[in-house]
Structures are given as C-alpha cells and as structure tokens.
C-alpha cells in the first residue's frame, strides 16, 4: 500500500501532505496514524495540506472529523489548506466546511497559526 501521508515541519507547525485517495481501506488509516503520532510528539499546531487529494469518501471525511476532535481534545489546533474543488464540495454538502478551519493556501494557513 502506498503511504499517502508525509509529515514535514514549517516552524512550529507540523504539515501533513495528503496524497491520492483518502477512502475506506486505502488512505483512511494512514492519516489517523500520522495525526496521532504528531500529537503524541507534542505538536500543538497541525496543518493538513489537501492539495494532492484526488478523492475522499465518507470514511475519509469521518477520519478528518475524528482527527479534528482528537486534536481539539489535546489542546492542539488543526487547519486545512489547499482543498481541491471536489473535496471542498464534499465537505460543503455535509456542512463540515464551517466546522473546519479552512484556508485557500498553505501560506495563509500558516500566518498567525
């Protein structure tokens, strides 16, 4: 299975680059693991870069929500950036776009994080 999450640092922010499909049985667990690891490492600011995500299903969306809750519960902040139009649509129809902290670019998301 392709690892479709990579983690990098941008100052004190952990940036997770997601790639490809975040769908049941495919990318869903990698994202969760990566978030949990960065939180366990003490990160307080996490930025998820969705630029290269091609497809997300309800399981992937659920993972995003779960990660958001976990981060909040640990006193960390989670932001999303670079949502492709279709991914944006998927979050919009379930009214999650307002729940998440969404930014159009990585620079914008990092500013004042």
């Amino acid at each position: 299975m392709n690892k479709n999450v990579t983690v990098r640092d941008a100052g004190d922010v952990k940036v997770l680059d997601l790639k490809g499909k975040i769908t049941i049985g495919a990318g869903d667990l990698h994202m969760r693991e990566a978030i949990h690891q960065t939180l366990a490492g003490g990160a307080k600011k996490i930025l998820i870069n969705m630029k290269e995500v091609t497809t997300i299903d309800s399981t992937g969306v659920g993972e995003l929500v779960g990660c958001y809750t976990t981060a909040t519960n640990k006193g960390a902040k989670l932001r999303l950036a670079n949502l492709p139009e279709k991914i944006n649509d998927v979050l919009t129809v379930t009214q999650l776009i307002t729940v998440f902290d969404v930014y159009t670019s990585e620079a914008e998301a990092l500013e004042g994080f």
């Binding site: 769908t23 049941i24 049985g25 495919a26 497809t55 299903d57 309800s58 399981t59 969306v61 659920g62 993972e63 929500v65 779960g66 958001y68 809750t69 279709k86 998927v90 129809v93 379930t94 009214q95 999650l96 729940v99």
Partner: protein, 146 residues
C-alpha cells in the same frame, strides 16, 4: 449500440475493500461507452464507493466468502446502479441525519447522505426473508451536478 439499453454489466465481488476500485474501473468503462462526462462520473463514482463500502462493511461484514453484486444499466441519459449484499438488511428510514447539530462531529453516518446528494434517486430494498440489501441509485447524467 442501441439507444434504449447500453452496457448492462454485472459484477460479483468478494467483500474486500480493494474491490471497490474494481467497481470504479467498471464505472469508468461504462461511462466511456455511454458518454458520461468526467465530472459527472466523479459524483456517480462517489455514490458508488459509498454503496459498495456499505455492502462490504455493514452488509457482508467483510466476510470475503460473501459477494457484493454491482450492476450498471444505461437507458437513454439515465444510469441505474444496483449494489446488493448478503447481509442482514437494515431499515434505511431510521438512519440518523448527519446534518443534525448533534451528529455534525460524529466520525461516521454520512455515506447514505452522500449517495442521495450525488444521485437523483436512491432506494433500499431488503431481500426476501430479511436477508440482504439492494440499493438502487439512478442519475440523469446529462443534468448538472447537485
């Protein structure tokens, strides 16, 4: 190719998540043969993913011995997709509304909502004797997306 009924295709897949991609590959072929455009195919594919995932997860409980049936039927500008499983069946009327404020942060419960959002019509039938679920989803693929 006659206008009235193109590409009837039926797949029987074992209950493994990786086989979702096979249903997607079939949709891709059916779309190519029926003139379904890429954007439209994406949204229909989204509904198909959810239906097959539910059949594997909730229906067949990932028992690889149990089969998921996926059929594609194109008539005129309508595509009808059926997804059947060998599970216990369920009452689609009592599924929680994922838009209700108390459900907004739940990590699950959005699949059927997506299916209904991206298709024109979605119906659920339980098999005879309560066994199995058949989801029937129809979409006029010449209409705009939701």
């Amino acid at each position: 190719m006659t206008e009235s009924s193109r590409s009837p295709v039926v797949l029987w897949l074992s209950s493994r998540y990786e086989n979702i991609e096979l249903a997607m590959a079939a949709l891709e072929e059916v779309s190519r043969n029926s003139g379904i455009e890429n954007d439209m195919e994406h949204w229909i594919g989204m509904a198909l993913r959810e239906a097959v995932a539910n059949a594997i997860k909730h229906g067949n409980r990932q028992d690889p011995e149990k089969r998921v049936m996926v059929s594609f039927d194109v008539k005129g500008d309508d595509i009808t997709i059926r997804v059947g499983d060998e599970g216990p069946g369920f009452d689609s009327g009592s599924v929680a509304d994922p838009l209700a404020p108390e459900n907004q942060l739940r990590p699950s419960g959005r699949g059927i909502f997506y299916m209904k959002t991206f298709m024109d019509l979605v119906t659920f039938q339980n098999g005879d004797g309560g066994g199995g679920t058949i989801v029937t989803m129809t979409k006029n693929f010449k209409n705009k997306k939701p």
